[in-house]
């Protein structure tokens, strides 16, 4: 068994597709019409055959309250690895991304949290040892 897909619930798939590709820099992998919605996945350009992120519609009535509660308390829906949180934070801020947590060094891990504009918070992280390799 292996993990090949994970997902975030997005308010608007079209908007999410733009944010996750144009701003975050991911690459669209699958875009299949499914009734009113799409099977829409992106991958990292650094790992096109790696884990896919499904940009999942938020239509189910439980999703709204779930996302609202998580975002209210600042809790990320997903975490992505970057080489340097500080540099990525600067790059994203220049593109207008809003951070709910500026970079913090927490032991060997540095993290920051931003708003994906589609109802989620996303954490980015790097490990001190991994990034100095």
């Amino acid at each position: 068994m292996r993990i090949n897909l994970t997902s975030v619930f997005v308010d608007d798939q079209e908007k999410a597709a733009r944010f996750y590709t144009e701003v975050l820099g991911f690459v669209e992998k699958h875009d299949v019409p499914l009734g009113e919605d799409r099977w829409l996945t992106v991958v990292s350009s650094q790992d096109p055959d790696g884990v896919e992120l499904l940009l999942e519609p938020s239509g189910h009535p439980a999703v709204g309250p779930f996302k609202e509660a998580l975002v209210g308390d600042g809790i990320p829906a997903a975490q992505f690895a970057v080489d340097d949180v500080h540099a990525e934070c600067e790059r994203l801020r220049a593109l207008g991304v809003r951070f709910t947590q500026e970079p913090v060094e927490m032991g060997p891990v540095t993290t920051a949290v931003f708003d994906d504009t589609c109802g989620n918070l996303i954490q980015i992280a790097h490990h001190a040892e991994a990034s100095s390799r």
Partner: protein, 103 residues
């Protein structure tokens, strides 16, 4: 319970004092960030609910303010309630004896 008693009660707990330390280090934090800081900087594995309760008590005492920005709630330190304490014993010592606990 009056406000001064609330302030002393809020400050009586070490975790709540550390929360104020962390808000002094960086003002305007989400519950998520505060929990992560307590855990990684201080080794305090308090549950999210426990930290939320601590924040509620600090908020009741006026030492923490919660502001909603977009869909997120951020916690800010407010040191105003500490003023009367400093004035009572450190600056206005001669007048302290005759002042009543009303603030």
């Amino acid at each position: 319970m009056d406000r001064v008693t609330d302030v002393f009660k809020a400050l009586a707990d070490p975790t709540r004092r550390i929360i104020l330390d962390e808000l002094t280090a960086r003002d305007g934090q989400t519950l998520f960030e505060l929990c992560a800081r307590l855990l990684t900087q201080h080794g305090l594995g308090s549950s999210r609910q426990a930290v939320s309760q601590h924040l509620g008590l600090l908020e009741d005492a006026g030492l923490v303010e919660v502001r909603r920005e977009g869909r997120c709630k951020f916690h800010y330190i407010n040191t105003d309630p500490l003023g009367p304490i400093v004035q009572r014993w450190l600056r206005g010592g001669d007048a302290a004896g005759s002042r009543k606990e009303t603030t």
